[in-house]
Each structure stands twice: as structure tokens, then as C-alpha cells.
């Protein structure tokens, strides 16, 4: 029993420097490399557009879609409110059905538990179902370090593993690769692959099938994640498409499932909500090809040893934040990624965490914290958003991601006392208050063209403006200041022409049309500006 001594203690974040919840560099810098990758942007653009359209089709098909979202959101909120009792109930039910439950405070502990369980079976290999939780704790790296070889069995995850790469999307981890690259990866890395292998997706999938079939048939231990864990019955569930999940959950002697404590649902009946919300939001399908539900062990069917590892790793820290805990409601459908204009351009790697995109920008700092250091990658994540709100609209469990981002920005400002933007604005305010200085600054800014690259953008500015230029390319200032232009012959002529035009328009009494046109050109400007701002 935990002893309750007066004030409750604030739960710790995921320990610094462990697992995959922090990148090597801040988002703006990481995004910069990724933005240079034209292939990535094309693939992502095509992929997200396709999934987006499919999702709208199949969600529009259900007249009760909004009611399902309301129910989904409330079930998760209710589950968080009752987490202690639900976790104990889940543990009890799993145990009652012949499984063993383990608890892990953080990634290191979870890794040790899994490695110990694998060793106890005498196996030095495991087959793996794609899982965000095991990716988060860096399980593969840990297993390798103790002499156990993990084999990813999801096709995209396999591609990523063979290429010693990192996943870039929750759902389609190899979305950044095209068929030619995948063909080359297979030719280089799959032992005994047909050297004549071409780049047709069906042939590539067949090559993976042949390679993995042997592993499925012979490996004695599997590791999986879980989409849902039902407290009422002790039932665990994995939602997938390829059948690799079914293979791993069914064929080995031992199954080890690593599940974040936030994945628990109160009742079996709750599946009726999430099995409608998840596939439709995620792949835009009415139902994913395969869903497996299992409760402990079943004599004569499937693994006879089942272990459930319940993982904290910063989840309780997120739970202790009245506003931020909504992020724990996430069911990892990836709908928010696919509608995010920032994600669409930068891809998943720029976020540096297992959890990319809008939800990653919220969840990652919640789990692993933001550090006061100016260059902490996680403190830049809350700013990696245009706050356009598309993610909130798309989220099947109605997580208000934009508000959470704003809250995290607030927390970050409180924590560090300042932001790059604040510094830049302060410098600008000082200059603007003094006309002479302002004119001088404008002239100096004209020089900006000289430092701009050939594409007319400036990517590095000296302090105090470096904070600004670190996170965005700035369009080079015009050759002339407005004041200078206004005073020139060219400016005077243009103004006169505009005034004449205006008068003529009046006499013809077509004010609407000219209004329309100026609106359109303003909108045009806006769009171009938006491109510059984000690209």
C-alpha cells in the first residue's frame, strides 16, 4: 500500500535521456533538414491527402459519428478519473485468466522486465508487433544490448528496421520512403532475397511475407503493444491489417504485451465505440482487416504464457495536470497528423519523439517534460503548430490539441521567462519608438537582401533576431522602404493611377467588383505569405 503523508507528490516525468521521447535537436532546426527533402514532402502530401479523403468519406457515412465521438471522449475521461480502480481490476482479471501482470515505473524498468522474461524462455529472438509503447521506451535497442534480436513484423516497421531508420508516422512508419528505396533496402538487407526483385508493391510485400513467415513459424516469444485493455474482463486487444499481429499473438509460446496505463477502458461494451472510431479515423476504413481480442491464456489455443507490462514513464505526470491530461485520451489513430499543415511539410522525424504531429507536440512534453535549457528539443514542440485547429476537428476523441499547445506554450514561457519571439519583438519595439532609429533600421533592413539567399529568403539573422530566423525563413525585405517608395517618382505615378482608377470605378458604379478583386488579390498575398512563413 502507498502511504499517504499529507500532500500528494507530483509524479515524475519520464527520466531525462532515456527512451525515444526527445530528439537530438529543436524542432525548427530538425524541420529545416526535413524541408529540404522533396521526396519526403511529395510522399507525405500524397499520402495525407489520400487518407484524409477516405476518412471524410467513411466518417460522413455514419449519421451518429458525433455521438460516437462524444461517447469516446467521455469514456476516456471517465477511465482517467477511475484509473487506480480500473488498473487493479485489469490486473485481477488478467491474473485470474492465467496471465502475469508487471508494473514499470519508467522505460528502463519496462525494458529490464521484458528482457528478463525473454531470457527466462531461453530464446534469443523475439518477433514484434508494431507498438508505440515499445518504440517509446527503446525496447529494441535494449534487447539488442543484452543479446536478444527483435524482429519487427509490420511491413513498414520492417522497412524502417532494415534501413536502420526511424518511423515517421504513427500509422505508416515508412511513409517517407518510396518503392525504389524500399526495393533497394530489401535487396541489401533481406538474406536470400531474389536479386530480380522489382519495385511493384505487391512483389515487395510478397518478399517480406516470405522472409517473415519463417520467423513466425519458429520464434518462441512475441512482444506486442495493446490498443485497448478492458478492466472489466481483462481482455487485451490489437488492431491491425496485415495479419502479422495475429501471427505474433497466436503462434509463439510466450506473449509479452507492453501497455501504457492510459490504454485501459472500463467495460467490454466500450469496444463498440472505439472499434467504430479508430479504423474510420485512422486508415479511413470501415473496419481494419484484423482485430485480435484475448484474455489471459486459453488452453490449446495461442501462447500458454502471457505477460502484461503496465507502463507509467511520465503518464502519471501528465495525469497530474488538469489541462494536459486530456492528451492521454489519445487512441493513436493519426488523424491529427494527416490534417496538420506543419506535419505535412516537415514529416515525423522533425518532432524527434515516438509521437509526432500535433498530438506528439502535446504528449511528448507532457510525458518527458520541457527543460529550461533554451535548446531543449521538447520545449520547441508546443510552437510546432500553426494552431489552425484542423487537428481538433479531426480527433475522434475530441482532444482540444490547439488549446493544449497554447497551455504548454504558456507553461514554457513561465518556466523560462522568455521566448525567441518575445526577445525579437522587444528589440523591434525599442527601435520603432524612436523615428530616427526606425528609419535607420529600415535602411539597414534593405541590406537584408544582401544576406538573403538566391531564393530571396533569409534563413539566419544575427541576434536578437536569430530566435526568429531559427524557426522560420524570412522573406527578404523589399529593396526600398515604403517611405522611400512613396516619395519617389515611381510611387507618385502609381498612386495617381490608382486614384484615377478608383474615380472611374465610381462613375461606372461597380464598387462590388473592384472590392471582389482586391479581396482576391489580398487573399492571394496571404497565401503566398503563408507559404513563406511555413515552408
Amino acid at each position: 500500500m502507498s502511504t499517504f503523508l499529507g500532500m500528494p507528490a507530483r509524479p515524475p516525468r519520464s527520466p531525462y535521456g532515456t527512451g525515444n521521447l526527445r530528439g537530438d535537436e529543436a524542432f525548427p532546426r530538425a524541420a529545416h533538414h526535413e524541408l529540404g527533402n522533396g521526396q519526403l514532402r511529395r510522399n507525405l502530401g500524397r499520402a495525407t491527402t489520400t487518407i484524409r479523403a477516405k476518412r471524410l468519406d467513411v466518417t460522413g457515412e455514419l449519421p451518429d459519428w458525433e455521438a460516437l465521438r462524444d461517447a469516446g471522449s467521455a469514456i476516456k475521461t471517465d477511465a482517467m478519473n477511475r484509473l487506480p480502480e480500473l488498473l487493479e481490476q485489469l490486473e485481477h482479471k488478467v491474473t485470474e485468466h492465467g496471465g502475469t501482470v508487471h508494473w514499470a515505473r519508467d522505460s528502463a524498468e519496462a525494458n529490464e522486465i521484458v528482457a528478463r522474461l525473454v531470457k527466462a524462455t531461453g530464446s534469443s529472438e523475439v518477433i514484434k508487433v508494431k507498438s508505440m509503447a515499445t518504440q517509446e521506451i527503446g525496447l529494441n535497442e535494449h534487447l539488442e544490448s543484452v543479446g536478444i534480436t527483435p524482429y519487427e513484423t509490420d511491413l513498414a516497421e520492417l522497412i524502417v528496421q532494415l534501413a536502420h531508420d526511424r518511423p515517421s508516422h504513427i500509422l505508416v512508419p515508412a511513409i517517407h520512403r518510396n518503392r525504389d528505396e524500399i526495393r533497394q533496402i530489401f535487396l541489401d538487407r533481406i538474406p536470400g532475397v531474389d536479386p530480380e526483385l522489382d519495385n511493384v508493391p505487391a512483389h515487395l510485400a510478397a518478399a517480406a511475407r516470405a522472409y517473415l513467415r519463417q520467423k513466425f513459424m519458429t520464434t518462441k516469444v512475441a512482444v506486442s503493444g495493446a490498443n485497448f485493455g478492458i478492466a472489466e474482463t481483462g481482455t487485451l486487444s490489437v488492431v491491425e491489417s496485415e495479419g502479422n499481429g495475429r501471427m505474433c499473438l497466436t503462434l509463439p509460446d510466450t506473449l509479452i504485451t507492453v501497455m501504457g496505463i492510459e490504454k485501459v477502458l472500463p467495460r467490454y461494451q466500450d469496444l463498440e465505440v472505439f472499434l467504430q472510431l479508430l479504423p474510420r479515423s485512422s486508415t479511413g476504413e470501415r473496419m481494419n482487416p484484423y482485430t485480435s481480442l484475448w484474455t489471459g491464456v486459453t488452453p490449446g489455443d495461442g501462447p500458454q504464457g502471457f505477460h502484461l507490462v503496465l507502463l507509467d514513464n511520465g503518464r502519471t505526470a501528465a495525469l497530474a495536470d488538469a489541462i494536459g491530461r486530456a492528451a492521454l485520451n489519445c487512441i493513436r489513430c493519426s488523424a491529427c497528423l494527416n490534417v496538420c499543415p506543419v506535419y505535412e511539410r516537415t514529416g515525423g522525424h522533425a518532432y524527434g519523439s515516438t509521437y509526432p504531429g500535433p498530438i506528439g507536440a502535446v504528449l511528448t512534453p507532457q510525458l518527458a517534460g520541457m527543460h529550461a535549457a533554451a535548446d531543449d528539443p521538447n520545449s520547441s514542440l508546443p510552437y510546432a503548430s500553426s494552431l489552425c485547429g484542423a487537428c481538433f476537428d479531426a480527433c475522434p476523441v475530441k482532444i482540444d490539441i490547439p488549446s493544449l499547445l497554447v497551455e504548454l506554450r504558456h507553461q514554457h514561457t513561465e518556466q523560462t521567462g522568455t521566448t525567441p519571439e518575445k526577445l525579437a519583438m522587444k528589440a523591434a519595439a525599442t527601435v520603432m519608438k524612436r523615428p530616427a532609429l526606425y528609419r535607420g533600421a529600415q535602411k539597414a533592413a534593405g541590406l537584408g537582401r544582401a544576406v538573403a539567399g538566391r531564393d530571396g529568403t533569409i534563413s539566419r539573422l544575427p541576434p536578437p533576431f536569430s530566435g526568429w530566423s531559427d524557426s522560420r525563413d524570412t522573406a527578404a525585405p523589399p529593396r526600398q522602404t515604403f517611405r522611400a517608395w512613396f516619395a519617389s517618382d515611381e510611387g507618385r505615378a502609381a498612386l495617381r493611377a490608382a486614384a484615377d482608377e478608383h474615380d472611374r470605378g465610381r462613375t461606372r458604379e461597380e464598387p462590388d467588383r473592384s472590392q471582389d478583386e482586391s479581396d482576391r488579390s489580398r487573399a492571394e498575398d496571404h497565401r503566398n505569405h503563408g507559404e513563406d512563413g511555413t515552408a
Binding site: S2, A67, S292
Partner: protein, 210 residues
């Protein structure tokens, strides 16, 4: 010594004490308890199965054996696996080798089967989903997974309109598999490829008068 269990549960309690929120009532205004006439359920179920590239054969119950035999012959299946509890009359008309399953047959041997024939526990028309629950006529999970062709016999009377109605037919503690079309991946440039690790072909025989 404090165990990890006590620590994690303690942290959860602390977290809730630090950020208490009011109890939530779950609104369940979504559709449940839907009933659709047979013809509509059949049409919807068939449409959705075809959309997933499954093969569909509606038939009357007394023609089950004939349809099963025809499908297997057309597909060139010479050896098929069947769960121990499958109605033997369903494979009466089939002239290939019928191998009854048992728990001690290792997976690689299942790989040598051309097809598997099973019954099913329930279906969902709106999503084109078949539910297997490991009952004797459906067998253990490996059996319906490893062979490349899965022929599944579904009674229309067990096909419900939507997900809530179909899930209500299940026994939660049974090992359950939801199948919607054959195995598929879209991992390479989002192009859908049928058949990765599970059966590449799914044939559904729907007995319409049951």
C-alpha cells in the same frame, strides 16, 4: 521495499488528487439495437465484403456442401484443414484430403494446407466483419490464420446490422478475431496490396435461410 506496483498506483492516486475532476457520465446516444430485414442485411454485408476484396457466395443451408466443394475445386485446394467441431456434412462433397485440426499440430504443418474451412460466431453488415471466437466449429486461432485461403461459413441470422449489435453476441473471455476482408497492407506508397501475412484469399459462404 516499495514495489513498482505500489509506486505507480500511488502516483496515479497522487495525480488524481492534484488535479481532481468531476465524475463523467458517458453519453451513449449513438445507434444501438438496430434491426434490419434479412434482405437489407444481406445486401449491406455483401457490399462491404466485396469492397474489401473478399469473395461472397450466398446460398441456402442445404447447398452448403456443394458451394464449399465448388469453391475449393475452383481454387485448386487439395488439402484442407477443418476444426474438430465443424459440421462434417459441410465438406461431404469435397473430394480432396480433409485434415482435422488438433492443438498439438505445429504451425509449419498448417502452412502445408491449401485452405481452411471454418464456421463463424457472428457478423457485422455495416463494416463487413466476421467474428471468430474459437468455438469448436471455428477452431484455434492459428488454424484460420496460417493457410492461404480461408473459407468461412456465415449464417445470415448471426449477421447484425452494426458493431454494437454484433459485439453483444460475443463472450468476452473467448479468444476472438475480427476479420474484415483478407490480409492487406498499404505501407508502400499507400498502394493497397491484398495478402501479407494472413490468408490472401477470404471466401465467405452466407447461408441465407438460417
Amino acid at each position: 521495499m516499495t514495489t513498482a506496483r505500489d509506486t505507480v498506483l500511488g502516483r496515479v492516486r497522487d495525480a488524481l488528487a492534484l488535479a481532481p475532476t468531476p465524475a463523467t457520465v458517458v453519453p451513449r446516444a449513438y445507434r444501438t439495437g438496430r434491426v434490419l430485414p434479412d434482405a437489407e442485411r444481406l445486401a449491406l454485408f455483401t457490399d462491404r465484403l466485396l469492397d474489401y476484396k473478399a469473395e461472397v457466395h450466398p446460398c441456402t443451408a442445404d447447398r452448403t456442401a456443394q458451394v464449399v466443394a465448388e469453391v475449393l475445386r475452383d481454387r485448386g485446394a487439395r488439402r484442407i484443414g477443418v476444426p474438430t467441431g465443424l459440421d462434417p456434412r459441410w465438406v461431404d462433397a469435397y473430394d480432396g484430403e480433409v485434415c482435422p485440426d488438433s492443438a498439438d499440430i505445429p504451425a509449419p504443418e498448417l502452412d502445408a494446407l491449401d485452405a481452411v474451412v471454418t464456421a463463424s460466431a457472428a457478423g457485422c453488415a455495416e463494416t463487413g466483419t466476421i467474428f471468430l471466437d474459437g468455438s469448436p466449429d471455428q477452431g484455434r486461432r492459428a488454424l484460420s490464420l496460417v493457410p492461404d485461403l480461408h473459407l468461412c461459413v456465415v449464417d445470415l441470422s448471426a449477421v447484425e446490422a452494426g458493431v454494437p449489435e454484433a459485439l453483444a453476441r460475443l463472450v468476452p473471455e473467448r479468444p476472438t478475431t475480427l476479420i474484415s476482408g483478407p490480409s492487406a497492407t498499404s505501407d508502400i506508397e499507400l498502394e493497397r496490396v491484398e495478402g501479407v501475412h494472413g490468408p490472401r484469399t477470404l471466401v465467405v459462404v452466407i447461408r441465407t435461410d438460417r
